[in-house]
Symmetry: C2
DNA sequence: CAATATCGACCGACCATCCGGTCGATATTT
DNA sequence: AAATATCGACCGGATGGTCGGTCGATATTG
């Protein structure tokens, strides 16, 4: 029970997160120094360690912000009313919107993805994995609904979900690396449109 | 003109590359030290600098080995005889085979991908980009053939090629991260099969 | 309401460590 | 002996994290 509450806590944490997001998403974890973050936030280096106990924890809080937003969207989508294809198309739109709004967070996730095992300790890596697993399960549930309705050919729903996530992630990457040329909305709609029409059950 | 040729040159370079490939692909560039590589190769640290002028150049030679193999395969595929779909299916098989044989190189490419701008200097980054561009152009040429034959709906061939590469890369990533569960061949055939059947022209 | 005491947010110089790359010593081959 | 090849101790720069210290705000007291 603190005797005094810090009136600037939220503002400070916001400043620091904002600066860290910008730098991490541009340069990755290893190429961003804590000193840089503190300077970009307009604060002293020690202040960062007042609010977070390590560079790693600061980074993880940014990762978790994005992963939890994505997972929440997918899990909500499963519960929506309506036929599979309606739900799926709406989900695609919302995913695209989320990508666009949170582009910097997307970039950050990619920067951290390849060597997350060397950025985060085991417990955090497990947390990240469980977010991804949750996403896959949500997609799989949606896909199963599609199969029951006959909108998708019967197959291993979990593996199909994994393939769909993979394809979406690959398109996301191309978007981030060719932002002026390749649009994520266009790409997702092209691939998933064709995928579902091609995978569709009997006409 | 050296007075004597080094009878061990190829062997040494092989030892070093093999050790570096293994370590880089497991731990990434920043988490692998030159000392580790030299120990894994059973050589002194200085010897690495006899054969390469920096850690960066050693890493790049591994990247280039893989990128050039991929590019060569794609460019050859364009010149094959036959109808689009035959060529495409054969290409898919050969790509899958290459992935499987060169799994460690694939992993290395992923580890380096996100922060290649902080691993390699500008000239090397440009080279990498031109490999990827070449791949896209090769796929686009194939896709254009498919459009002319009516096997694929007319669309922007270059963007479709980019989307296809993106999807393939995403599936590759899922494979590398879920190797016991998700097979790259299965995934590629599922997605590209559905994609082409869905994208196919008039039946 | 002053005067005093306490607190906690903030700072940045400093420390310990790590690592790529160098270089002189040494061994081997011609 | 000259050229080539190998080695590993050492150097210098970089960086995450620490810690003693500052200072204004808040609480306490007379």
């Amino acid at each position: 029970m603190p005797k005094r509450i810090n009136p600037f806590k939220e503002q400070r944490e916001g400043q620091i997160k904002e600066a860290a997001l910008k730098l991490f998403s541009q340069k990755g974890f290893h190429n961003t120094t804590v000193t840089e973050i503190s300077e970009a936030a307009g604060l002293g280096k020690g202040t960062i360690y007042w609010y977070w106990k390590s560079k790693e924890e600061l980074a993880f809080s940014l990762v978790e912000d994005m992963l939890s937003a994505f997972l929440r969207l997918l899990e909500e989508a499963v519960g929506w009313e309506g036929a599979f294809r309606e739900k799926f198309d709406r989900l695609l739109d919302e995913v695209i919107a989320l990508y666009r709004v949170e582009k910097e967070h997307c970039r950050l996730l990619w920067k951290f993805r390849a060597d997350r095992h060397y950025i985060f300790d085991q417990e955090y890596v497990r947390k990240v994995a469980s977010y991804y697993l949750g996403m896959r399960k949500a997609i799989a549930a949606l896909v199963e609904q599609g199969m029951e309705e006959g909108a998708i050919r019967r197959a291993d729903a979990d593996k199909l979900a994994l393939a769909m996530l993979g394809a979406a992630e690959g398109l996301e990457l191309e978007w981030l690396e060719n932002e002026e040329y390749f649009d994520i909305g266009e790409g997702l709609k092209l691939v998933f449109g064709a995928l579902l029409d091609g995978l569709g059950g009997e006409t």
